[in-house]
Each structure stands twice: as structure tokens, then as C-alpha cells.
Amino acid sequence: MMTVGCGNPSGGSGVPGRSLEDLSAGKRVTGDQGGAAPTATSAVLQGLREMVLYIGSPFLLRGTLLALQIASLAMVGGLVLGLVLALMRLSSFLPVRGIAWLYIWFVRGTPQLLQLVFLYDALPMIGIKLDTFATAVIGFALNEAAFSAEIIRGGILSVNRTQAVAAAAFGMGPFLTLRRIILPQAMRAILPGMANDTIAMIKLTSLASVIFVNELTFRSQQIVSQNFKFFTVFAAAGAIYLILTTVISAIQALLERHFNLELERAATTRSVLARLLGVGRRSQPSATPELENLGAVREPANVVEAIGGPVRRVVSGPLPAHDAVPGHTNGADGAPFVVCEDVCKAYGAREVLRGITLSVRRGEVVTIMGPSGSGKSTLLRLINHLDRLDRGEITVGGGLVGYERIGAALRPVRHLAKARAEARIGMVFQHFNLFDHLTALQNVIEAPIRVYGEPHAAAVERGMTLLSSVGLAHHAHHLPHRLSGGQQQRVAIARALAISPRLMLFDEPTSALDPELVGDVLSVIRRLADTGMTMIVVTHEVRFARDVADRVVFMDNGLIVEEGGPAEVLGAPKQPRTQQFLRLVEREIGTF
């Protein structure tokens, strides 16, 4: 650093202000200063001073601005196109997948410099003449799209599939699910890669000098070719790049913090981010004290009050009250509400359901029991059309869910999400499937607001009522990972109830819980049954079935083996398969 390359520190004044005549002084590439040579320290200081002058020179700053403009515009374009490509890559439709794959294959596989030259110099042949800036923005955006597509796809794949299943069960369409559920959770995986790409792009804009973009690197090279002071000039350019990329890294850190669910988000962090990006927080407990009060004040005595009583008054607008029969306890009114006719379903060669015929009356509570693999969960998934029927048909409240009749056959309708939403079937999953990035309350109000268009305030009020009814008002603003399994499942039940369901499906709601947490969840379901809600419950809890069910259905190997009142099926099973299973359950669980 002290030898060659810094030019002659004593010659020339640095950035501007040298005439052609004394250019030669600055051009001395090996400084032979002889006796008048300054000390090494002063040479270094002089070099630093020159560097700072270059950093502040309008000539280089204009190049910096240009690099930033190109990179930011191209990044936005690349992200949008990249998201589209990522979704195309995830499509189940082969040609769509293929096109995206080809695009990414080609763009990632060819040098960006050549892409730029092609856009700039070859397109005019077919009459498309883009100017320098537009070429750079488009060229970098097209290139970035290919790379960000893969990063975004990776992020989407990193989100547990159960999140999408839960969203689908609540009638959320694919794009709503993507925007509200998948992408916010994918962001953590996406952000580091995108920050890498942003930084790389800012630096790579120097490639565009070949299409006459005078950005920072090009400008610094031009200065050097004029005064040959490559050390100070390039050091200055390097420092400017470092400042830019430091800012990007800082934004990355803030965003990662924002999307990090494990971090307890302190109010200060949030406000810094909010100030920086103008992003509001999803819900701030401190900002909504009235909600806490609401929960405390309006805490209903029990779920009966919450569902059957006040709900009817609380629910307003587009949310009708569910079809439960108030005051009607543990019984059915006779009209068949869910009708399954000869339902068949196979996954590949494996036949899971081999002809199920079952009807559930309005207000009836049916528990389905049977060994693993008997097809119980699949039947539930077919009832709300999370899976497609192979044969037979299912009606809920007299209507098909997401099918239209073409002659004798059924065909899925195009807007499946809308059909599911209209069916108003609440579902509770074995593994809760709460939306991990949303608080308990947000989980509950998501579908009412986004799917059913309920006003925010009304949804929050009703959500708090429901959470209170399952005993979780004080956890309303906690993220799922901070709740116990039993608490999560109770939130999940509140979430299902929030859409005012006509039918509730429970898929082994207590199987994933510690034994001491099972009771809380079962008591909530029991109280719900008391309101007259029509329910189908897949469970292994024999005592629960005996106490709550109007009817017990025993399934094995894709068929209904035995059905009847709980006393019959559980107390005096006729079929050897049922007897065997019940003995096993009694021994293992010991709840009988």
C-alpha cells in the first residue's frame, strides 16, 4: 500500500481540479519521490484524505444513485415475477411447471452480461428498442426472477402443509392462503436469500457498463483511466458499496426479527421497524386494552352461553347463527343433515374407503371409532371436500359441497374454496393446525374477516367471546407456540366455531395431547354438544363417546362394521372386530 499504485500523493489535488498539463504528475504510477518523499504516515493520511474526497464526489455518487435505482426497481420486478414463477413451479399442471422450469433453467444457465447485451443490441432487430436504463432494469429483473423463484419456492415448501390444509378447511382460497398464511411464514426462509440477491445485484450493476450504464464501478474505472490512481479511487468505490450493503444487511436483520416467531417481540423493535418501513404490527396487546377488558367483562359462564346464547345476538352482519337447536340437548330432531352414500376413496392402489353409507341427523353427535387406517379421518376430509370423492356422494344440509351434478356423475366446481366457505363446516384437527404466525385471537378472526367479510370490530368481539368460552381470554394475544397442546386445541375449536358452523368435524382432537390436558378439551366439546351442534367426532375416547354421542359408528378397513347407540356398540358390541378393538383400547388407555 505504501509502494506503488497510490499515484504520487503530492501530485494532483485529488478529485477534481487538475489540468491536462499536470495530469502527468498524477499519472506517475510508480512514485519515485526521491529525497522529497513524504513519510509513509503522511502518504497514508494523504491517501485517506483523497479517498474521502472521492467518496463524496458527485461524479461517483451519481453512479451510486444509478446503481441503486436499477437494483431497487429490478428487485421489485424480479420479486413479483419470481413469485409467479415459484407458484408455477409448484403447480400440479405439467405444462405450467415445465414453462417455469425452462425459464429458470435458461436464465440461470446463461451469463447475465450476455443477456444484457442481447436485450440491448439484439432486440432492436425485431423492432424493440429499449433505452439503457430500461434495458438494465428489465435485464436484471428477468435474471433476478429466476433466482428469487427458487428462493421463494424453497420458502413456501418450508411451511408445513398442514397450514394450507387448515386454511382450505376454513374456505380460504389458494391466493388468500398464500398471502395470509403461507408467505408470512415462508418469509423467514426467504429473507436471507433475498438479501444476498439484493446485495449481489447492487454490485453486479457494473456489468451494465457494456450497455452504457454509467454506474459506480464504471465511473471509478473511468477516473482511474484518467489519473491512474486506482488505489484511492477503487477504495472509495469499495467504501461506497460497503455502506450500501451495510444498509441492506441492517434491513435484513430488522425484517428477520419481525418474522421471527420465537423472539418475543418487544415494542421497541416493532416501532423501529414500523418507523423504518411504515409497517404496522398485526395486533398490539398494549394498543388494544379494550380487548382485554372485553374479554374480562364479557367472559361468558360457559360455552353454551357463548355458542347458543349470546352468540345469536353477538353475531351480526353476514355471519348467520349456526343451525344448532338452542336448548336442545343431546338429541337429534330426525331430519338427515349429513348423508353419505356409497362413498369410496383410494389413494393409488390402496382402497381407504370401500363404500360408506351413513347419515347424521341435525343436532346429532356421532362418534366414529376404529383402528388406525380404517378410513375415519379420510371420511371427515371427504365430507368437507378437502379430498375428492372417487365414487358415491355426500350431501350436507341437502347440498353437495364443491361438486356439481353432471348427469349421474359429480364434478368438482371451479371455486372450491367458495363452496367450502358456503358449506360452513368447522373442522378441528388432531395436530391443531393453528396458523403459527398468528396469535390466538388472530387465528380465530382470520376466516370470519377474510372469508366471510365480517367487520373487524365485530369479529374481534366475537373472537374474544369465543376464546373466553374456552377459557383462554388471557391468552388471546399469544402465539400458538407459547400455548400448551390443550390450549392450542381449544383455540382451534374456537376458530372452528367462529365461522358459525352448521356442522363440526373433529379429527381425533385429543390424540396428540398429554393425558392431563385431554379433559379440558373434551369438556369443551361436551358443552358444545349440549348446545345441539351437529358433530362428527373421530375419537378413541370411549368414555367420551359413551357420555356424549348419540350414536357410535365403528369402522374397520374402509367399511362400517357396526353402528348404534353408545350403550349398544360400546356396551354390547356384536361384531368380533369391535369387541377386539374395545378390549385393546380399554387395556391401553384405561379410561373405561
Binding site: P16, L20, R28, I223, V224, F228, F230
Partner: protein, 285 residues
């Protein structure tokens, strides 16, 4: 009275001399641009340059946004003469000619040599000849006295330049003669090439003779000219084929610049040998 008469005589003589010295200025007809070049007048003619090519196109050390140098000053003088407007568009050298061929820019004026290969794609107006010089470290440690001495020598030339091609050709000759081939490095800009020699990454750098001499003159302890090749390359302005009006304007303007001595003055101003000037001509392939 007497002195006043002398003074008057001096002033008159001076005026006459000045008028005689600039007779060609009258031949420039910028005011007729509207009728002579109806399709060009009032437009900014985009001239592609790489302002890292001293002393032809270079950033003004007093204002980096401004482009000066022999080629740049010539271009301004020519355009002023024919009454047209120009705009310098700066980019990396290897991208200049493609941009003219693609029609993104109107002309390339940045120390461009005429070659038959290039002339298939563009038309030229040439106005000077080039010498090629070999820049070597002080003392010429490899004793390079001609191209024939470069076999097996680390040689540097600009990307896409005729010098680069010259080394390739020489390397073939070396191999044919049973000598070592030339390990060649191509640099994107002149300053990068100078650093190759300076840091002992290349033994010789082949570029424009005037530039080599200037570098050797400015850095007498670091460099010297190893040898010169009077390549006979003609240097000119290139325009896309079919741009006859622009070609005509450039031809006319350059002829005037040679007639009125502007070119010679500019050659001298930038330390170039005035004898490098050749009678301008339009070359089509």
C-alpha cells in the same frame, strides 16, 4: 498621429491575417443544416465513446462529467461545422460497436481502427492512421524489439481490439515456427492493462502508440516503449450501414477540419504526432 496610423495599420493587418488564417471557417455551413441534413438537424446524434482511452476520449480532470480528448474535440468541431448536435454516450469499449450496429447509438468515435471485418457491419470516415506501441517495464527486461520477440512472453491487449487479434496471429506464427505460444491476457480498460505491466503480470502491453509514448513520458522510471509497429491502421468514425446522411455530414465536417488545420492543432494539443493525419475518406465495404 504617426503612431496612430501605425496602430491602425497593425490592426488592419492583424484582421487580414486572421481572416486569411481561417478561410475554411467560411466553408462550414452550419446554418444550412436544415436543408442539407433534414433528417438529422435538431436531433442529438448519439456518439458512443469509452472515455478511458487517453488521449482520444477521456474524462476532463476538472469535471469528470465532461468528455475531452482528441477524438472528442474532433467530434465537437465536426458537428459544429455541419450544424448538428451531438451527445456523447459512454460505455465499456467492447459494447460500443455492437450498440452502433444495433442502432442504439448513431456513431462510434473512440479510437476505432478500420478493419475489413468491422467494415462489413459499419461504414467509416477515416481521418488518421495509427501506430501501435509496446509498453514494457523500464529497461525492457525481456528485450522485446519487435513482434517476433513476443513468443512465449506474457502479453496484454484490450478486449476486442486489433492488438488482441495481432497477438493471436503472432502466437500462431510462433507455434508454426516451433516456438512457444503467447500466453495472452485481455484487459477491459487501459488502466487495467497498465496495472498488468506495472505489477509484473504481463511483460508487454500492446496499445495505441501515442498512448504508450505518453505513459512512458509520464512515468520514466516505470515504463518505456519496447517497440513500435507502424501498422498502417486507419482510425475513423463508424456509423451503421445505410446512414448515408450522417456519413455525409461526418465526411464533410472532417474534410473541413483538415482544410482549416483544426485536426493538426488538436493532434498537437493532445501530444499526438501531426504526421498521423491522413486525408479523410469515406470507406464502405
Amino acid at each position: 498621429m504617426r503612431s496612430a496610423r501605425w496602430l491602425l495599420a497593425a490592426v488592419v493587418t492583424g484582421a487580414v491575417v486572421m481572416a486569411l488564417n481561417t478561410p475554411a471557417a467560411a466553408k462550414c455551413e452550419p446554418e444550412k443544416a436544415g436543408t442539407t441534413y433534414p433528417n438529422l438537424v435538431g436531433k442529438k446524434i448519439k456518439i458512443a465513446v469509452d472515455p478511458s482511452t487517453p488521449p482520444y476520449t477521456i474524462r476532463d480532470p476538472n469535471d469528470f462529467e465532461k468528455i475531452v480528448g482528441f477524438d472528442a474535440d474532433m467530434a465537437r468541431a465536426v458537428f459544429k461545422c455541419v450544424g448538428l448536435q451531438l451527445d456523447f454516450v459512454s460505455g465499456a469499449w467492447s459494447g460500443l460497436l455492437p450498440s452502433v450496429i444495433a442502432g442504439q447509438n448513431d456513431a462510434m468515435w473512440s479510437n476505432l481502427y478500420y478493419t475489413a471485418e468491422r467494415a462489413k457491419q459499419v461504414d467509416y470516415v477515416v481521418y488518421m492512421q495509427a501506430g501501435t506501441g509496446a509498453l514494457v517495464p523500464k529497461g525492457n527486461p525481456k528485450k522485446l524489439k519487435s513482434m517476433d520477440d513476443t513468443c512465449g512472453i506474457r502479453a496484454a491487449a484490450g478486449l476486442g481490439t486489433v492488438e488482441e487479434a495481432a497477438f493471436r496471429e503472432q502466437s500462431r506464427k510462433c507455434v508454426a515456427a516451433g516456438k512457444a505460444e503467447i500466453p495472452q491476457v485481455s484487459y477491459p480498460d487501459v488502466a487495467g492493462g497498465v496495472r498488468l505491466v506495472q505489477n509484473d503480470r504481463a511483460d508487454v502491453m500492446l496499445t495505441d502508440l501515442a498512448l504508450v509514448d505518453q505513459l512512458a513520458r509520464d512515468n520514466p522510471t516505470a515504463f518505456e516503449r519496447g517497440f513500435a509497429v507502424m501498422t498502417g491502421f486507419k482510425v475513423g468514425v463508424a456509423v451503421k450501414k445505410g446512414r448515408e446522411d450522417l456519413l455525409k455530414a461526418l465526411g464533410t465536417g472532417l474534410k473541413e477540419m483538415q482544410a482549416d488545420g483544426t485536426q493538426r492543432e488538436l493532434l498537437k494539443k493532445y501530444g499526438l504526432d501531426p504526421s498521423l493525419q491522413i486525408t479523410s475518406e469515406t470507406l464502405r465495404n
